[in-house]
Symmetry: D3
Subunit: 67 residues, 6 copies
């Protein structure tokens, strides 16, 4: 029944990686909090880098500046 | 003024269906809670099936397995 | 499997009213989109009126001004 | 460390505009609440107009009706 | 920089348990996706059982019925 | 019509400060993106420090450690 929402920038995570993240997070809630994995939902939002800022700077510009 | 956020997997809901969902949910809050429909917002997020897991399994794989 | 999040100001909704809202919204997704009600989640966030603004004005002040 | 999530309809906001919104909102939290801008995150969700309703009406239809 | 939001019903999770959940989820994103743990945020929302429904039924009533 | 959600740790922000944050953020969207302030909503979530982690560490422990 729990709901886990993961927000990351859209920078090439593969389906295999996302699958692993969702499986492991579901397992964490089951093991630590006793939550029923069968009804646990995980949703990953992949956000375009121009729509995400940290330190007031868009990530697409940050990536260019520090690469 | 209320805000309703509906998250569903992206699996072919039509504009007509989404329109009906948004209209009916707005009506529910107006009728049951007396909320002003004029300022009620509904936002539907359609999430790719590989970014949504239930039971620790991505929905795109679940759909293949049970079809 | 869908997730519905309803955000309203905390202004006295009863458990009976909230129960009705959650039941009806679950039914809307089942009837209109064919979603499985057994795994549909509804979460209501009741937000203090001083933490909610519309038109740039906190609702607690709006309520005093227009009452 | 704060997280700001801005939801708008997808109607042509440019990267320059979004950059300015994210920079200014980060600055507001730093100046008014003393929050560390270095770890402040801003995420903009641009939502298709057919997935956003106000007054129970989808924005894509609203735009046609009032234009 | 990622943001993880965990929504659970408020049913007695201890600070130690929540601490472990937040630490492990941060580690998952670092190990699987290479995300920087230093700027990863985890937020746990504990929701009153009368404000959470599954299967259209509030959890506070579900708990009474099945206990 | 836009929706702004600000998540901060619950550490003593006053109503005056929150009011200013909500007014200024509404103004930013109106000035930069031309959004109608009358229907712009801002919601501030104040999260207990034990329910918020950065760097995998709960903020309540972080505050003790660095003070």
């Amino acid at each position: 029944m729990p709901m886990i929402n993961v927000k990351i920038t859209k920078e090439g995570a593969t389906n295999e990686q996302k699958k692993q993240v969702m499986a492991e997070m579901t397992e964490v809630l089951a093991r630590v909090l006793g939550k029923n994995p069968a009804t646990t939902i995980v949703i990953i939002d992949e956000v375009e880098t121009e729509n995400w800022a940290i330190g007031g700077e868009p990530v697409n510009e940050l990536r260019k500046r520090v690469s």
